[in-house]
């Protein structure tokens, strides 16, 4: 503990020298401290710490705050959602967290994916829409579409969706890890098309068809995930209330987007067909047909709506060379 008088000396000198230049500071310090090297080094070391550019205090507090908020994010683990117990986190999206849920009672043993939405809680209108949409999605029954099993609200009102848990890998990883031939890739792709056709007949558009939304099981069966979920998360019907520039609200994955998604125009079944074309291109060439340099609106419009993609055959040859 520093004696009171000494502390006041240090404090007063520190404050006088706070905003002085280097030379002035040295002169002043020498004059004020004289032979008192202790005083001088005390003030000098304080001034040195004051000169640090980054706020390390804020950083330490921020880390604690972040850890505390993350703990809240994990708070559902171990809790029950309907008949399911949440056991781990499968993944995070910008607007949702997907948990692995398990049902383990006398009747069933079942693993599910539970998607807990955050975004929906912010839009009252979206919430009410969610309920009717969930109903429609639950009627989709196709071997290549991951089923929506159940839905509801957590105790605090956060909506969740319980979906079939698919044990597999994304379709592009599956094709590449097994170095499938073109014919095998196309056979998989045709199965995906059949699932999309089934959904379209039931008036459901996927809106976010991309490799990471199509899993292939160990047995080689493709499963489309998140059918229609994109609509719940990024509804165009609300887009007129959102600034046009908020691109992420409208479109989840620019690499697979159709032109109408970039331009903010109505989404139809044609949007999925377009995305299927992009998917096929990716499966055959290993690349997106778009050359995106950035996610700026201008860049996206140019790459997706104007530029002609390199022909797949040329792309493959270019890659071989």
């Amino acid at each position: 503990m520093i004696p009171r008088a000494r502390w006041q000396q240090i404090q007063s000198l520190f404050e006088q020298l706070l905003d002085t230049g280097e030379n002035e500071r040295a002169v002043h310090l020498a004059r004020a401290c004289g032979d008192d090297t202790d005083l001088r080094s005390s003030v000098e070391s304080l001034l040195k710490s004051d000169a640090r550019r980054e706020d390390v205090l804020q950083h330490a507090i921020g880390e604690a705050a972040e850890s505390l908020l993350d703990a809240h994010r994990d708070r559902l683990i171990g809790t029950r959602v309907g008949p399911y117990r949440i056991v781990s986190i499968l993944g995070h999206g910008g607007m949702s967290t997907v948990y692995r849920g398990e049902r383990d009672d006398s009747q069933y043993k079942q693993t599910v994916a539970i998607k807990v939405l955050q975004h929906a809680t912010l839009h009252p209108r979206l919430r009410s829409r969610l309920h009717s949409e969930r109903h429609i999605l639950a009627t989709l029954d196709h071997p290549s579409i991951a089923r929506l099993i159940d839905s509801g609200d957590l105790e605090d009102g956060t909506p969740y969706l319980v979906m079939e848990h698919v044990d597999g890998v994304s379709i592009d990883a599956y094709c590449d890890s097994r170095t499938l031939f073109v014919r095998e890739r196309i056979e998989l792709f045709i199965q995906v098309c059949a699932a999309v056709q089934y959904a379209h007949r039931n008036l459901v558009v996927h809106r976010d068809i991309k490799p990471s939304n199509i899993f292939v099981t160990e047995e080689g069966a493709p499963k489309l995930l998140d059918f229609g979920i994109a609509k719940l998360l990024a509804p165009e019907s609300l887009s007129h209330t959102l600034p046009v520039t908020r691109l992420q609200e409208r479109m989840l994955t620019p690499e697979n987007a159709a032109p109408e998604q970039v331009l903010g125009r109505p989404i139809t079944t044609a949007t999925d067909i377009y995305a299927l074309g992009v998917l096929l291109y990716q499966l055959l060439t290993g690349r997106s047909p778009y050359r995106l340099l950035s996610y700026s609106q201008l860049q996206l419009e140019r790459a997706i709506c104007m530029d002609d993609p390199v022909r797949p055959s040329h792309m493959v040859i270019a890659k071989l060379n």
């Binding site: 004051d50 640090r52 550019r53 980054e54 390390v56 804020q58 950083h59 921020g62 505390l68």
Partner: protein
């Protein structure tokens, strides 16, 4: 949002020496943080620690604004920032000292062009150092709490403490420098 009407009541009880009030206060802070954490989760990009801190500060403001008469603001600001410090530090301790503060790069003092060694510390070390500062100069510790844990501006702190924003700014610089020296072990002051 409904802030429980007894929040300020509990704060006062806690301060006047009823530790059991803290047990009832902490869940209120957690509830508020959880509510706000949803917004935080939407913004996945950018500076995480800054966002997280902003959430804490927002929770602070929302909790304190309920049912506090203007003339009592300063008093309750002080109590609530102390509470926020308690919550963060207890959380960090419960995680058996969080991963070390490795995110801070070597810092360059522009004035001298000198490379300063990185300072490695977490909120628990900061809490200890603040205790020391509290012993020596309670006003400085108070200003640090209000600024860093409560997220108040210089003007708000000045109004709460009945001083000027310029004085607050000077106090923060002195206190911060002292704390950094103390934590990094170079404190000869």
């Amino acid at each position: 949002m409904q802030v429980p009407a007894n929040f300020t009541q509990l704060l006062t009880e806690w301060r006047s020496g009823h530790p059991q009030a803290l047990e009832r206060l902490t869940p209120l802070v957690y509830d508020e943080l959880r509510r706000l954490a949803r917004n935080y989760m939407r913004a996945e990009r950018g500076s995480h620690t800054l966002q997280a801190t902003a959430v804490v500060h927002e929770a602070f403001m929302r909790l304190i604004q309920a049912n506090v008469a203007l003339q009592d603001r300063g008093h309750f600001f002080a109590l609530a920032s102390r509470l926020m410090r308690r919550v963060l530090v207890d959380h960090a301790k419960s995680r058996s000292r969080m991963k070390r503060n490795s995110g801070v790069r070597d810092l360059l003092a522009e004035e001298t062009g000198e490379i300063l060694p990185p300072i490695d510390f977490d909120v628990v070390a900061l809490d200890d150092a603040l205790e020391g500062l509290q012993q020596m100069e309670p006003r400085l510790a108070q200003v640090i709490e209000l600024f860093y844990f409560g997220g108040l501006t210089y003007d708000q702190i000045a109004a709460a403490l009945g001083t000027s924003a310029a004085t607050v700014h000077r106090d923060i610089r002195l206190a911060r420098a002292w704390l950094l020296n103390e934590i990094s072990g170079s404190g000869s002051a």
